[in-house]
Point group: C2
């Protein structure tokens, strides 16, 4: 976000938490302004509309979530293949954490039925940021088709979070790790 | 559903369509009863509450969606491996259809934040029904670990629909087909 005041950022982050925990439509502007300690009028002045606030909320999650998924992995190892595996290995503890509610971006994409809602572009930008990180590791690891591998890893990334939420189980995270290893093997071995 | 009257079934199916098209929370009971041509009071008498109607709506989708995904595939080929591939091949035309909004069951699981909501059990039952269909084909195709393969295919099934909705693209469907072929190869080849 550019030109965002600290007060905008505080309200957007608060809204993001409520949207993710309770659902976007289920979270009223009344409850949000009360929780933020501001009037509804001030909320609308800052964000224009509830839809503007929704877009700002997911915008405020973009970098923190990206960094949560990548920084610990990068600190752990320099090997690109090991980084890809570590990226998926961190999902099991995340899924086991009490507040796990799936991927906030995937959930927002599913809940906001209007394809023109401004939050969809924010969601796509976030997912593309993660895909590019996976792509650079796939390329460095010597994948024969790194673009395709990065897109397939994104399918697994979305699928594991949805399936774990639905099943209320961490087993999809372990299945995903095995699946990702097989995928990387298949992508890297041929022609080497 | 057992003990469901034709009128209950008609209203549940109508509600399922609205929930999937517009979102569950975004669909009010007022609009639903108007669309069904009944009073709000009658709606509550039949389903107890909006939550009861939500559970009945997804229950009414369970078998039709399962049959949509499996019957054409079974008519197409008897070969279990070919059936697994055909199951995923049918996703691209589905994703390209104008009303595509992702998987209704995955979306409901994401939107209904209360883990005790009665619809979650309906969603799990539906997904388990599909997983068992995939499992029986994985077993017949000679997969070394058919349980694991069926669970991994469920990850791909959830991931491809989420990612296609998010990207507004059918490319995830093609990536999923390649991924599924590689997964089946890896599951079937070893030790044969």
């Amino acid at each position: 976000m550019t030109g965002v005041t600290p007060e905008d950022a505080r309200i957007a982050a608060l809204a993001a938490g409520h949207f993710h925990e309770h659902g976007i439509t289920a979270t009223g502007v009344d409850a949000l302004s009360r929780a933020a300690g501001i009037s509804k009028r001030t909320l609308y002045q800052r964000f224009g509309s509830k839809d503007g606030l929704i877009a700002a909320a997911y915008e405020s999650l973009d970098l923190p979530v990206f960094q949560m998924f990548t920084q610990a992995v990068e600190a752990q190892t320099d090997d690109p293949r090991a980084q890809l595996e570590a990226f998926f290995a961190q999902l099991e503890p995340l899924i086991r954490s009490p507040g796990f509610r799936g991927c906030p971006f995937t959930n927002a994409s599913a809940e906001l039925a209007d394809p023109l809602h401004p939050a969809h572009a924010v969601v796509r930008r976030h997912k593309e940021r993660i895909r590019r990180w996976l792509l650079s590791r796939a390329r460095a690891a010597g994948a024969s088709n790194p673009e395709q591998l990065s897109r397939q890893l994104m399918l697994v990334f979305a699928g594991v979070q949805s399936q774990a939420l639905l099943e209320r189980s961490a087993r999809p995270a372990r299945d995903a790790c095995d699946l990702v290893r097989a995928l990387i093997d298949a992508a890297i071995t041929p022609g080497r």
